[in-house]
């Protein structure tokens, strides 16, 4: 019961946050200088033509009217149409979402798979060379910009060795093998950085478990170090990994935008960058809103999954 209530409260908070966020997004976008009409018509157009186009695009309506229309449209699944092309923003965004979602999703999936073992090694053998190597690897991984990693991977695997395509994207449905080969390097560059960061948290989470009294109790009943750590540490570590992953999501989304640029993936990042450049505000608003919603929703999910994972929270005795 307490859980249901907590989830309901969290949902209400989420909806409120989304509303506030939508207003911020809209206001910021409207405040951007530059004019899509001028951009469309170019250097040769007359001011009258530009005005006519602005009117046609509905850019002359009052701020709140446009905000209401936009939010209202989004609630019914309509993000408006691109000023530049007249194409519905939804049609522009969804194909891009597929690309970005694969990139971000696969990276987020692989990140803990890399970070957990590495963090475990770094924690358990932190006074030995194995731990030192794992810690150093994570430190170095964190210190290198993702795009740099991407460039290096391309120069080695695409250009020197010719094993993998340097950039571009193929839809999964069109060619699964091609899809995979195009995603290997981008996902790898994103994962390396994120995993390096997560490793650090995993390490300290495991180190913390090592200091816990309950771990000492487990050792006292006969657990060896590693199996005991996996048995009693993993679930506790999972909680902090989950939090950090939730916090890392925003970083991953940003990383993905840069990586998309390095690998020219037709994802949300490149859509956003071009749309901002072209002042195609409907597209900018839609894309930014989508990213913001994703982060907010995932954070809400992380909060809720706390309720499930941590019995102290689940049974309502701790918050």
């Amino acid at each position: 019961m307490a859980t249901v209530r907590a989830v309901a409260v969290r949902l209400a908070v989420l909806v409120g946050s989304l509303l506030v966020a939508s207003f911020v997004v809209f206001a910021v976008c409207q405040a951007l200088p530059g004019d899509v009409a001028q951009q469309i018509l170019g250097e040769q157009a007359t001011p009258e033509a530009v005005d006519a186009l602005r009117q046609r695009l509905g850019l002359d309506r009052p701020f709140l009217v446009r905000y209401a229309a936009w939010v209202g449209g989004m609630l019914s699944g309509d993000f408006g149409s691109s000023y530049l092309t007249g194409v519905p923003v939804g049609d522009l965004i969804w194909p891009r979402v597929a690309v970005s979602a694969w990139l971000i999703g696969l990276a987020l999936l692989l990140t803990p798979l890399v970070a957990l073992p590495l963090g475990l090694v770094a924690a358990v053998w932190r006074r030995h060379w194995q731990g030192f190597v794992a810690t150093a690897a994570s430190q170095v991984g964190m210190a290198i910009p993702a795009f740099w990693t991407g460039l290096m991977l391309v120069s080695v695997f695409s250009i020197r060795l010719g094993w993998l395509p340097a950039n571009g994207y193929v839809a999964f449905a069109a060619d699964p093998a091609g899809w995979a080969s195009h995603l290997v390097l981008p996902v790898a560059s994103l994962t390396i950085v994120q995993a390096a960061m997560l490793t650090r948290y995993v390490r300290s989470a495991f180190v913390e478990v090592l200091t816990e009294d309950y771990f000492r109790t487990a050792r006292a009943i006969g657990w060896r170090r590693i199996p005991g750590l996996l048995r009693h540490g993993l679930r506790n570590v999972a909680l902090s990994v989950l939090t950090v992953l939730g916090l890392q999501l925003a970083a991953t989304v940003v990383g993905a935008i840069v990586i998309e640029s390095v690998f020219t993936l037709p994802g949300l990042g490149s859509l956003l960058l071009t749309a901002v450049g072209q002042r195609d505000l409907q597209v900018v608003q839609g894309t930014v809103m989508l990213l913001v919603v994703t982060v907010l929703v995932i954070n809400a999910l992380v909060d809720v999954s706390y309720q499930v994972l941590d019995p102290r929270v689940r049974t309502g005795d701790l918050r």
Partner: protein, 476 residues
């Protein structure tokens, strides 16, 4: 092509390009990426520009000009058909012209068609256009986006579905990635060699190079990072085609700014910059030094690089004569593009050495448009003017340079209205005047640097129009 799957018998050409078209309608959107993709490939014009910048027949087999230079009669090719199968008629051509003029269309090119009094179909294949005053430019413009003949049945969806008469039609558009053209099965002329042409778009020049190096591309339509050209020096794998474009990289000066309205200051700026070294540094020596608003493929082109030679001492002297011995501060606001950013860095360094402090601001194109171009809020800017024969922009005092020179305006007007024999000397005079008056400073003209996989032929050397014409490309 290596990008095509080996089992397919189809021949596919993959072209790398930098800017993805925002829309597919070249008449209502000014982006140069649209004619690059569509002009001559899917859309055709009555007349076209050849590699040397001369007008050639396309949909019109020939054309006559009345002696008063006001009436143009075009004789259309009777075989010409739109991709939809309907014939290209004089009526359709007239309608296309009218459409540009029509205020409802909000066409980018309305002012280019201003001189047109009427466009009428004399018969199915004869089009007569009457101008309100003689204009040589008008016919020239008819070879570009303003002059495309559009299938009247396809007018409603031009932004996403081209309706032309060229050898290719749109196959698919993966936004953010690529646009594929496929063969127009019912093309009326000589069919081209490739069944499909894929234009892949790269916002990052280096990514495009990497794609070429890893065998994903057949052609780089225009190398945006010329210092990378050495990567393609292996002639057994690649060939590099060097030509010219219409893109003059202009160091624009705002004549409304007090300091820059002073000729001596402008001369000092021009003298302070070593263009040869700039081209070497910024664009790897690829491209042409021009000296004024004219490129080698213009009929009136002359080498004017000697008018304002590099001379730092003279620049300092001119500045102190102008009263800026103690220094001068200027804002250089450039759009965020490779050539502008790099040139800006060079220009700032050069001007610093003669005592002009330059603050560089990199603006996104949208902001550049609104701040620099529309509001004229700048001192110096660097932008490449890619339209052909855009020297005329200096004749418009409201244009963002705010250059107001009656002599120049008169020369240009006379040239436009003159017979072709008199046009050339007038234009030469006009172009030279710009240089001596330092209406702006011309850094260089962008090269047409095309990289192809070895064995590909038929790529036009010069980009005289904005089109990347794939119709003549073949592979051995």
């Amino acid at each position: 092509s290596p990008a095509a799957s080996p089992t397919s018998a189809e021949k596919t050409l993959t072209v790398g390009a930098t800017l993805e078209p925002p829309s597919l309608d070249p008449t209502t959107n000014s982006s140069a990426s649209i004619p690059q993709l569509l002009l001559y490939n899917t859309y055709q014009t009555l007349v076209r520009l050849d590699n040397a910048g001369n007008l050639q027949p396309l949909l019109a087999q020939r054309w006559d000009i009345s002696t008063d230079l006001l009436t143009y009669t075009f004789h259309l090719d009777p075989a010409a058909k739109f991709a939809s199968g309907t014939a290209v008629t004089a009526e359709a051509a007239a309608k296309s012209i009218e459409r540009i003029k029509d205020a409802d269309t909000v066409s980018v090119w309305a002012n280019q068609m201003e001189v047109v009094d009427s466009a009428t179909a004399v018969d199915t294949h004869t089009l007569q256009v009457t101008l309100s005053r003689p204009s040589n430019n008008w016919l020239f413009n008819m070879a570009s986006s303003a002059g495309i003949v559009i299938d009247p049945d396809g007018l409603s969806g031009l932004a996403t579905q081209p309706a032309g008469s060229g050898p290719y039609v749109l196959d698919s558009w993966t936004r953010g990635d690529s646009i594929t053209l496929k063969l127009n099965k019912s093309y009326w002329g000589t069919p081209p060699r490739y069944d499909k042409v894929v234009f892949r778009y790269f916002s990052d020049a280096n990514a495009m190079n990497a794609a070429m190096l890893s065998g994903q591309l057949d052609i780089i339509s225009n190398l945006q990072a010329p210092e990378a050209v050495s990567q393609f020096s292996d002639t057994s794998k690649y060939s590099v085609i060097r030509g010219t474009t219409n893109g003059e990289v202009v160091l624009g000066m705002n004549h409304d700014v007090a300091a820059l309205s002073n000729l001596k200051v402008r001369q000092a700026i021009a003298a302070a910059i070593d263009k040869k070294a700039l081209l070497e540094t910024v664009w790897n020596g690829e491209g042409t030094l021009i000296g004024s608003m004219s490129v080698p493929t213009d009929p009136w082109y002359e080498d004017l690089t000697g008018v304002n030679p590099y001379d730092q001492a003279k620049a300092k002297k001119l500045l102190s004569e102008a009263g800026y011995a103690s220094g001068l501060s200027l804002r250089l606001r450039v759009p965020a593009t490779a050539y502008a950013r790099k040139s800006a860095e060079f220009v700032a360094s050069s001007l610093k050495q003669v005592g002009i402090t330059v603050t560089i601001q990199e603006l996104q194109f949208g902001v550049w448009y609104s701040d620099v171009f529309t509001k004229g809020d700048y001192d110096l800017t660097i932008v490449s003017h890619v339209e052909a024969r855009d020297v005329f922009t200096f004749a418009d005092p409201s244009y963002y340079w705010h250059y107001d020179n009656a002599t120049f305006q008169k020369l240009v007007q006379q040239a436009d209205e003159a017979s072709s024999a008199q046009e050339l000397p007038l234009m030469k005079q006009a172009v030279k005047l710009l240089a001596t008056d330092v209406a702006a400073d011309w850094l260089f003209a962008l090269p047409n640097l095309v990289v192809t996989r070895a064995g590909i032929t038929g790529v036009p050397q010069n980009a005289t129009s904005l089109s990347f014409d794939v119709t003549t490309i073949a592979s051995r």
